[in-house]
């Protein structure tokens, strides 16, 4: 069961009482991610997700264990706002994202979220710096947090250096010529550009070899700590869990996983 600080404890109400379910506005905005009574099923398929509660506080770094096929990608899609739940709600930074229109969700995502995927993170026809600066292209609000294009470029270079890609020759290289490890670092820099409040990482180290995994993760976490970014890290590599504030298991959270006929 989730060992997150239960908002009900802060309000003094006994846990699992109706009162405990209603969090005060103040506590709600202290949460980066607040998922309640989430239900999701693909059309014509049995329910995939049924999560009563999943919350991540601001600045918290959570490791979510979930093998492929368990619905973790779908959960990330729901949190990211590309999918809408069949029932329940998703609150991000106090905003009920699940109630927003599609374009509003896209804008919210552009402004407040960063993503790192397992592989093929980069756009092949853009250079390294352009890949890193992509979020600024689609979210003027995010770009403004850094400043003018020159400042954005400087910030992009700084982030790359912070993640271990300091050499200028990297910047010159075609994206397709980078190693997997280098590509993942570029992807992380892109996710961090513009100081988004939340970073969602979907198995970012699973394509790296063992030695590289921990160093990548440490660099990512250092930068998150500096910026106060919330990190939701999904992976099956449990050896990394010790570096996080909290470890959860999707199988434990997801009531639908236990049901007969589940995916």
């Amino acid at each position: 069961m989730s060992s997150a600080a239960h908002p009900a404890a802060a309000s003094g109400a006994p846990p699992d009482s109706p009162a405990s379910r209603v969090a005060t506005p103040a506590t709600r905005t202290a949460l980066a991610i607040d998922v309640r009574d989430l239900r999701f099923a693909w059309p014509g398929k049995p329910p995939l997700l049924s999560i009563e509660r999943f919350a991540v506080a601001r600045g918290e770094r959570v490791f979510l264990r979930g093998p492929s096929g368990s619905g973790k990608s779908t959960l990330l899609g729901l949190i990211g706002g590309v999918l809408q739940p069949s029932g329940g709600s998703v609150h991000l930074l106090g905003t009920e994202v699940s109630q927003l229109s599609a374009s509003a969700r896209d804008r919210f995502r552009g402004e407040h979220l960063g993503f790192v995927f397992q592989m093929f993170n980069l756009i092949p026809y853009l250079g390294v710096l352009q890949n890193v600066m992509l979020p600024a292209l689609f979210s003027p609000a995010r770009a403004q947090r850094i400043g003018d294009p020159a400042a954005l470029r400087t910030e992009a270079v700084r982030l790359l250096a912070a993640l271990g890609l300091a050499s200028s020759s990297i910047l010159e290289r075609e994206v397709t010529q980078l190693s997997i490890g280098q590509q993942q670092r570029v992807a992380a820099a892109r996710a961090l550009l513009g100081r988004p409040e939340i970073i969602v990482a979907d198995e970012p180290t699973s394509s790296l070899d063992y030695d590289a995994r921990e160093s990548f993760l440490r660099l990512l976490m250092d930068e998150c700590r500096t910026q106060g970014t919330t990190l939701l890290f999904v992976s099956h590599d449990t050896s990394l869990g010790r570096l996080f504030d909290r470890v959860d298991s999707l199988a434990d959270l997801n009531a639908a996983a236990a049901m007969p006929g589940a995916a």
């Binding site: 899609g77 995502r109 756009i123 853009l126 689609f138």
Partner: protein, 421 residues
């Protein structure tokens, strides 16, 4: 939309080999379409403007087209001649206001030599009401005077007073020539944009003079030759002419005269009304012209389908790219506009390249078309019709681009952020 335009351009640049092929295909098809357009307009205008104010053209009985082509366009040859007697009878008819006799058969360095009278310079009109003007010199005064069309003088670098030796027959290179009776350039005409520019005009009697000691196309043996000055003293009235043009006193009398000439019992003659004959010629050409336009249209369609294929086949491998864009905040409509912008950019580049190709082709083909067919291709700008065609092509490209754009849009909605490689 500007973020997506920048991405579209980079995306195309990344796949530039394929893009270049697609653009080339469109460029070639556009050049074909525009080229056919230009040719068709030039031919039509050329035909319409070559001769005006002439009510009838009379020649030996042959095809209408034949008569028109050799008398007006100086293309092809007459099968037989008109006897001087018949010409005189018709010319002196009370309903006839003026006539212009012409005699063809010789050439000078690839240009046709035409024997005529000074009435030609007085009565010939083209492009409506424009008269023949002299850039320098004047009409025939001496027996051996020649008046050059603008192109003849310019291409051969001839000026007033230059000597000309006319060759027998119309081949480009002729071994038989009339070297014993040289001509002198007495006048050079201003440019008309008609076959007049490519003609060397000499007097009718001069044609008789240079052939006076020739029999069946060969000169007499040396002893029997007649010198240039001797020839002056002879009666140089021609036995026959190739054809003649008629200006009637009243237009309404034209049809009666035409019928009378066609039914003339003394000699097989043919009288045509230039406007009517030109229209018939045009209708003949018109069928071919329409067919050409349809073919050109299909070629453009083929080029655009090639573009569509190129974009569609790249779509599958780009689903990941779309997911990445979505993850950084792009909306599905950005995905849509990205692909439409790519299609539009490819088409626009193709159209621009096609226009450039058209002009290059026109510049290259101009001399050939002028000399062989008397068609003057304008290197002018594009007409509104041309712009309409080009706009339609780019519009069609956008429409076609909507297909992969829509597929990508739907894909991105269902894929979301999941990797689907």
């Amino acid at each position: 939309m500007t973020p997506t335009l920048g991405l579209a351009l980079r995306s195309i640049w990344n796949r530039r080999t394929t893009a270049l092929l697609t653009i080339s295909a469109i460029a070639i098809s556009v050049a074909l379409l525009l080229g056919v357009q230009k040719l068709r307009t030039a031919a039509k205008d050329g035909f319409a403007n070559t001769v005006s104010g002439v009510d009838l053209i009379v020649g030996a009985r042959s095809g209408q087209l034949n008569l028109l082509l050799y008398s007006v366009f100086r293309v092809g040859d007459a099968t037989a001649n008109v006897s001087w007697a018949s010409y005189q009878r018709i010319a002196h008819h009370p309903d006839v206001a003026w006539t212009i006799p012409i005699s063809l058969g010789d050439s000078y360095r690839g240009f046709r030599v035409m024997g005529t009278t000074n009435d030609y310079f007085t009565h010939y009109r083209f492009a409506g009401t424009r008269e023949l003007r002299f850039a320098s010199g004047k009409p025939f005064a001496d027996l051996y005077d020649a008046v050059l069309g603008a192109d003849v003088a310019q291409q051969l670098g001839l000026t007033l007073g230059a000597p000309i030796v006319v060759a027998h027959g119309v081949g480009n290179v002729s071994f038989a020539n009339h070297a014993d009776k040289p001509f002198r350039v007495a006048g050079i005409l201003a440019r008309t944009g008609t076959p007049v520019d490519r003609t060397v005009h000499v007097g009718l009697e001069a044609i008789t003079a240079i052939h006076v000691d020739w029999q069946s196309g060969t000169p007499a043996p040396r002893g029997a030759r007649v010198g240039a000055d001797e020839a002056r003293k002879l009666d140089l009235t021609p036995d026959s002419i190739t054809a003649f043009m008629i200006g009637m006193r009243s237009k309404v009398l034209t049809f009666t005269m035409q019928r009378a000439i066609n039914e003339y019992r003394q000699e097989p003659l043919l009288a045509i009304i230039p406007g009517v004959a030109l229209t018939q010629l045009w209708n003949l050409v018109g069928i071919a012209d329409t067919a050409l336009m349809i073919v050109a249209g299909f070629v453009v369609l083929a080029g655009l389908l090639g573009m569509l294929t190129a974009i569609l086949t790249s779509l599958n491998e780009r689903r990941r790219e779309m997911a990445i864009l979505r993850s950084v905040g792009a909306q599905p409509r950005h995905v849509f506009t990205l692909l439409i912008a790519e299609a539009g950019t490819l088409a626009a580049c193709g159209v621009l390249a096609g226009v450039a190709l058209t002009y290059a082709a026109v510049a290259a083909a101009r001399p050939f078309l002028e000399s062989r067919f008397g068609i003057f291709l304008e290197i002018g700008g594009l007409t509104r019709y041309d712009f309409g065609l080009l706009g339609a092509i780019v519009g069609a490209a956008f429409l076609m681009g909507a297909l992969p754009a829509w597929r990508a849009y739907r894909n991105t909605l269902s894929d979301g952020l999941t990797i689907r490689v």
